[in-house]
Amino acid sequence: MEIKVVKDILDANERIAQRNQKLFDANNLFAVNLMSSPGAGKTSLILQTLKSLKGKIGIGVIEGDVSSSLDAEAIGREGVSVVQINTAGGCHLDANMLSIALDSVPLGDIRLLFIENVGNLICPAEFSLGEHRRVLISSIPEGDDKPFKYPLMFHTVDAVLINKIDLLPYLKFDIDAFSQTIKGMNQKVKIFPVSCTSGQGIEKWVSWLLSQMRNPV
């Protein structure tokens, strides 16, 4: 006997993600899923963003890593609420892992939640967490061909930050061609060239982020 199913394989994850988003909305909290390859600057971007926004709004961070709590410690030193998820080999966060971590987040005290995903351009693209915005950091040393190699990731994000632009004089990276490729695949995407080392471009990113928080859905 054949049974017609026609159901998305990640349906269960999607349902938990929707539950997470309801929890965020009930607490008037804006959640950002931050993704990139390892070493592109997710933690550095959070630290730079904290510099601009600390004291102005309550910020919380959830750190996803395969192992260690190094990133959580770096964020914790800034005096913001941080929860570490160790995926123990898992290559991405999923909605259920996030749901469990949210029990340890003081939801009422924060307005903006950064969820730092596991460094990976493939798997995190598939798993919605219930976030309001999906943000990707791509960095100059990775090369400008990444949209061709990881199209799903570039296709599904709301913003792409091009980090480490202070290295442009030393490396070959065509920002215009890169931006044009992403915009061709993803019309809604916003692109922000930044340097988390010098702070260049961070102001524009932060003001976009704040503008999104006013219209979360």
């Binding site: 006997m1 054949e2 049974i3 017609k4 199913v5 026609v6 159901k7 998305d8 394989i9 990640l10 349906d11 269960a12 994850n13 898992g90 290559c91 991405h92 999923d94 493939i122 798997c123 598939e126 798993f127 061909d145 949209p147 061709f148 990881y150 199209p151 799903l152 296709h155 044009q180 490729t181 915009k183 061709g184 695949m185 019309q187």
Partner: protein, 113 residues
């Protein structure tokens, strides 16, 4: 290695459907996987063989329908298949496109006894 959690989710979905139908055995699972998802069929098969052990889906055949990435050009309106490393319209060479296929990841049907 997202195939591990994807295969586990797929198996849960299949077992749930089979249980609803009061099936004793799952003989075949028909999957549809878009190229853009980057899900590798061989990996799904590998994890499936392992994860399905001891369930009624143990030994089920996996049939995977692969869907190529397709886009509609926003400039000339033509539909085309996106080739690896060439995200431009083969008709007008524009690179402004809407992706219309390739993101599929679902269980189409199962065959049960």
């Amino acid at each position: 290695m997202h195939e591990l959690s994807i295969t586990q989710s797929m198996l849960n979905l299949v077992l749930g459907q089979a249980e609803q139908a009061k099936a004793k055995k799952v003989g075949k699972i028909n999957l549809v996987i878009g190229e853009m998802t980057g899900v590798v069929g061989e990996c799904v098969q590998f994890y499936f063989d392992f994860l399905s052990r001891g369930t009624i889906a143990d030994g089920a055949a996996l049939a995977i329908k692969a869907v190529p990435t397709k886009a509609r050009c926003r400039d000339c309106g033509k539909l085309f298949e996106v080739m690896e490393f060439d995200w431009t319209c083969p008709h007008c060479h524009g690179n402004n496109m809407e992706i219309v296929a390739g993101k599929e990841l679902f269980v189409e049907s199962i065959e049960v006894e």
